[in-house]
């Protein structure tokens, strides 16, 4: 259709201003993508936190193998539990020695192993739920054969608060950056539109329909969006590669940015969508 060709031609005719637009949008996308990846990875990192949180259950010294098994089963049934490890008296002593490191000599004077057999419970990282964890702790405390239980009560609170904060921050910032990028797209297309007001006026007077007028802008907007997306994808991939190759061992904040290649691939699609939406809004309703 001629209207489509018109958009393509206009792309070339106004190539300088279009290159500016592509670069502007590209940079916007790039910023958005980098920030999004940083936040996503921060969120992922914060999700890993509760995994490190463990509940240590001290069992009675003279507990039977059967008792141990019974308690283990009880614990494993809870949904928040990821893994349960049993540590015998002897293993516990070795562990303590290791953790004391250079001060391990203080244990030398001991005449007997003062430690208890223990269960170390690792909590599941997904579906981390403070209430359920507290419920579990209560249950374990009530079980026969359990001497004592150690858990980071305060730490637990901190973790879940931190998670909420990170999530809130992510959503706020992502929202802001998204609005900013859409805005850059919109204003770019709007400026293109302003520049062509006269042309549109003439087209209308010559009998062009609304579709004929709108279509070239949509084509142009989508291609500018596509190129902007490709450009930002290129930038991102470049940043990724450079940081991987030239920084000793790689900058983990960047190389660790997990789905970097997925994002690189998605950016152009995102560009086309935004370009079309931006153009549609910028052109608006065609009046005669």
């Amino acid at each position: 259709m001629y209207s489509v060709k018109l958009g393509l031609k206009s792309l070339w005719r106004e190539r300088w201003i279009n290159i500016l637009s592509v670069l502007t949008i590209g940079v916007g996308f790039f910023v958005l993508a980098v920030v999004a990846l940083l936040l996503l990875n921060l969120e992922l990192a914060s999700r890993r936190l509760p995994e490190k949180f463990t509940i240590t259950v001290f069992l009675e010294d003279e507990i039977s193998q059967r008792g141990i098994l019974r308690i283990r089963k009880m614990i494993e049934r809870a949904t928040v539990v990821e893994k349960v490890d049993f540590i015998s008296k002897e293993e516990a002593f070795e562990d303590l020695k290791k953790s004391l490191k250079d001060s391990a000599y203080i244990l030398e004077g001991l005449d007997r192993n003062p430690l208890f057999p223990t269960f170390v419970i690792r909590l599941r990282k997904s579906a981390f739920d403070r209430e359920k964890v507290e419920q579990l702790i209560k249950e374990i405390r009530g079980m026969r054969g359990v001497e004592d239980l150690v858990y980071g009560e305060e730490f637990l609170g901190v973790v879940s608060r931190f998670r909420v904060m990170i999530r809130l921050l992510s959503i706020t910032l992502m929202g802001l950056f998204f609005v900013a990028t859409v805005f850059v797209c919109y204003s770019t297309v709007k400026i293109l539109f302003y520049r062509r007001k006269e042309e549109i006026e003439i087209f209308k007077l010559l009998g062009a329909t609304g579709g004929f007028i709108r279509l070239p802008f949509l084509v142009e907007g989508s291609i500018i969006g596509l190129l902007g997306g490709l450009f930002s994808g290129g930038l991102l991939y470049g940043l990724f590669e450079i940081s991987r190759r030239y920084v000793a061992g790689g900058v983990p904040i960047i190389t660790g940015l997990n789905p970097v290649l997925t994002v690189v691939a998605i950016l152009p699609v995102f560009g086309v969508v935004l370009g079309v939406i931006g153009s549609a809004i910028a052109v608006g309703r065609v009046k005669f």
């Binding site: 001629y2 042309e199 209308k204 007077l205 009998g207 062009a208 329909t209 609304g210 005669f288």
Partner: protein, 220 residues
């Protein structure tokens, strides 16, 4: 074909047209004259629907301007060829494209467009300027491109607003000849001009405007 009844057009503080009534039959060739600011261009704008009347009714080819849906305006305009007083050429397109656009808008196939554009350019003596851009053309050449664009679509109505203001005697005569030919084939023509020489001895109908009033309607 075109009928005005008691049409008034007011711009902010000025009455550009005051209770204008006239009608033009199919195939007529009618001049509109009057001094600068008389309302000639405004009258044409009302016909091609670039302006709406404040009072009165306008009927174009059976369509009542009041009751016309916005979406059908483009299709009405496709039957009208317009020579704009200020040319309205697309500055970023060459002569060929400026003329072809009128056909492309109508969805005419590209091969047919080529023939028709070249034919129109031949009529206005500008075949050698086919690749030029408007700002590489002289004033008179631009005006002739505008004329070519108006006639290339074989319109049923041709509105020409001061189409020879930048043309010398010979070119003017050429354009007048073309218009007479088109008119002979059945196209209704409204020709706004301040140049009384153009219609003095033609015996064609002349509407004279002055200060927004229709002061005379003779000939035809």
């Amino acid at each position: 074909m075109i009928a005005f009844s008691e049409v008034t057009k007011v711009y902010e503080n000025i009455t550009a047209l005051r209770k204008i009534t006239f009608s033009i039959g199919k195939g007529e060739f009618c001049f509109i004259t009057g001094p600068s600011g008389a309302g000639k261009s405004t009258l044409l704008k009302l016909i091609y629907l670039a302006e709406k009347p404040d009072e009165g009714r306008i009927n174009i080819a059976g369509w009542d301007s009041d009751r016309l849906k916005m979406s059908s305006i483009p299709y009405l305009r496709r039957n009208i060829g317009i020579v704009f007083q200020d040319f309205k050429l697309l500055s970023n397109r060459n002569v060929y494209d400026n003329i072809a656009i009128a056909l492309r808008i109508r969805g005419v196939p590209e091969r047919e467009i080529k023939d028709r554009v070249h034919e129109a350019l031949k009529l206005v003596n500008l075949r050698h300027k086919v690749d030029s851009y408007p700002d590489m053309l002289s004033g008179g050449e631009q005006q002739r491109v505008t004329i070519a664009r108006a006639i290339v679509g074989d319109p049923t109505v041709l509105l020409a607003d001061e189409p020879t203001g930048n043309l010398d005697v010979d070119n003017t005569a050429g354009i007048m000849r073309i218009f007479r030919e088109i008119n002979a084939k059945g196209t209704t023509i409204l020709f706004a001009t301040h140049n009384k020489e153009l219609f003095r001895h033609t015996g064609l109908r002349v509407l004279t405007l002055d200060g927004g009033n229709l002061v005379s309607d003779v000939g035809g």
